[in-house]
């Protein structure tokens, strides 16, 4: 995607659109900030006033449960006023009507948009057209990126494994259709992960995978050997109609994560899945509920990570909540 409009002139976050184009410093800062938000959940009042007086609109042009609800909770825990819209895609034609949506919502004085859309690049499109001072967060755009998901995955990995430079991470499944995988691969590479493997049937590998700096495997037994982290992807059933795969059952036989296969990874390997998981298709039920699975932890971490990204955007905007008329605040005690 074109110029990095997600950063301001000082290299700080203005929008959050893609992992591609971010540096290790910002990614690490997001992870650190997320960590400081975890304690908010332990308190009687699970709120901090960072987005107080701000309005966030969640625009989901595509269905979502987990991402949407964790975004909403993150916004509420930051004290924002929120508006969630499920926009019927069938009625929307890309281009002018999307612009119309932006203009209408801007008239309602929205400060931040969280957007999921079936078209790649839609979040960038939004970001290019909002007024200065309004921010856009990508909650998944087509087959392009899903950056907050990748950040919560990085958070989960760091929580369990600390140092990325010593890790072997395997991503298993439908890499070609997965915006999650794309964001994850960028993030893992930016964090200098020792080895990133993708394991998939040849028909589900995008042509440019090698340029992403990953090792390719079309055999799961080989691919899982000695890895520290296994990330399963959802088999996107809606894509099954094409010639990509013969059947779900055969997919499970060839690429499903069973305990036997997982035993080829390191004994302390963790199993992740962005959800929603198809039990018995890409992952065996007992592995999903097993001791190596951190899948439910990922959901909880998703709230802290989304709080971190939103607060970093607001904390950096000198435009935000302006006209306080306060001087010499720096270092006020």
């Amino acid at each position: 995607m074109a110029a990095n409009i997600q950063l301001d002139e000082n290299g700080r976050l203005r929008h959050f659109l893609s992992i591609e184009g971010l540096n290790r410093e910002i990614i690490t800062e997001i992870l650190d900030t997320a960590e400081s938000f975890t304690s908010v959940t332990d308190r009687i009042i699970k709120k901090v006033p960072i987005l107080r007086g701000k309005t966030v609109a969640n625009l989901f042009f595509e269905a979502s449960t987990r991402t949407r609800s964790t975004f909403e909770l993150a916004e509420q825990r930051l004290s924002a006023d929120i508006l969630s819209l499920n926009v019927d895609t069938s009625a929307t034609v890309k281009g002018e009507s999307l612009l119309d949506t932006i203009r209408n919502l801007e008239a309602m004085q929205i400060d931040m948009f969280v957007i999921r859309h079936k078209d790649s690049g839609s979040a960038h499109f939004f970001a290019q057209h909002v007024r200065p001072g309004v921010s856009v967060l990508n909650a998944g755009d087509g087959q392009h990126e899903h950056p907050t998901q990748a950040m919560l995955d990085m958070y989960t990995i760091r929580h369990h494994k600390q140092d990325f430079t010593r890790l072997r991470v395997a991503i298993v499944g439908d890499i070609m259709h997965s915006r999650v995988a794309r964001s994850q691969i960028h993030a893992l590479n930016i964090l200098n992960t020792a080895e990133v493997r993708v394991i998939a049937p040849k028909t589900l590998l995008p042509i440019d995978t090698e340029s992403l700096g990953v090792q390719l495997y079309d055999n799961i037994e080989q691919g899982l050997r000695d890895v520290d982290v296994v990330i399963m992807l959802r088999l996107q059933k809606e894509r099954m109609r094409g010639a990509f795969l013969p059947s779900e059952k055969e997919y499970f036989n060839l690429f499903g994560l069973t305990q036997e296969r997982l035993n080829r990874a390191r004994p302390d390997a963790i199993v992740m899945h962005p959800g929603p998981a198809n039990r018995g298709v890409e992952i065996e039920s007992s592995v999903m509920d097993g001791s190596q699975s951190v899948i439910l932890q990922q959901v909880g971490f998703g709230i802290s990570v989304r709080m971190a990204v939103m607060s970093m955007i607001v904390g950096q905007s000198s435009r935000g909540l302006s006209s306080r008329g306060q001087s010499s605040l720096q270092g006020s005690a």
Partner: protein, 175 residues
């Protein structure tokens, strides 16, 4: 270099003054559950609170407040994710909290700290203990216990460095 030179007593002396002033809040016949909770504000206040906590040895662990998320100038100065998150050792409902900070100036930090404390529960009382009160309040907040009061020129800045050793320095910015 111009600006007034201010004689500041040593940090240890000031901490000892605060400790002595706070001891009456911890009578020996008080049940541990009724004892006040000492809470230090990140970062300087926490260092001082650590020293006082070591000297008084109360029943409850030391509390730690990182008020970053509650600052009224948050959108201007942003986050400092390297500081550790707040943690209070126990349920604070009905308890006395001894809130400790290094320098009391505009009063905004204390306002933010109190806002945060009330998100943890409803304390019965908050006692504010301060190492240095330099005056020039911007909001009506006063300390209950002050180890030292000083006056500085508007552009000067007093800062506690630490944690080892703890040292107060005065800097004049606008010269």
């Amino acid at each position: 270099m111009h600006g007034i030179s201010v004689a500041i007593p040593s940090v240890d002396t000031l901490i000892e003054k605060l400790t002595q002033a706070l001891k009456p809040y911890f009578p020996s016949d008080l049940l541990p559950a009724k004892q006040p909770i000492i809470v230090g504000i990140e970062t300087g206040g926490y260092w001082i609170a650590q020293a006082i906590h070591r000297a008084i040895k109360p029943a409850t662990d030391l509390g730690h407040l990182n008020i970053t998320f509650y600052r009224d100038d948050f959108t201007k100065i942003g986050l400092h994710p390297t500081v550790k998150p707040s943690s209070l050792p126990t349920n604070i409902d009905g308890k006395t909290i001894i809130l400790i900070d290094d320098v009391l100036y505009s009063g905004r930090t204390i306002r933010a700290a109190m806002n945060e404390i009330f998100d943890y529960g409803r304390p019965q009382r908050i006692v504010l203990a301060i190492l240095i009160d330099r005056g020039e309040r911007e909001i009506p907040i006063q300390a209950d216990i002050v180890a030292e009061t000083i006056r500085l020129e508007p552009n000067s800045h007093i800062k506690l460095d630490g944690p080892d050793p703890l040292q107060l320095t005065v800097k004049s910015n606008g010269s």
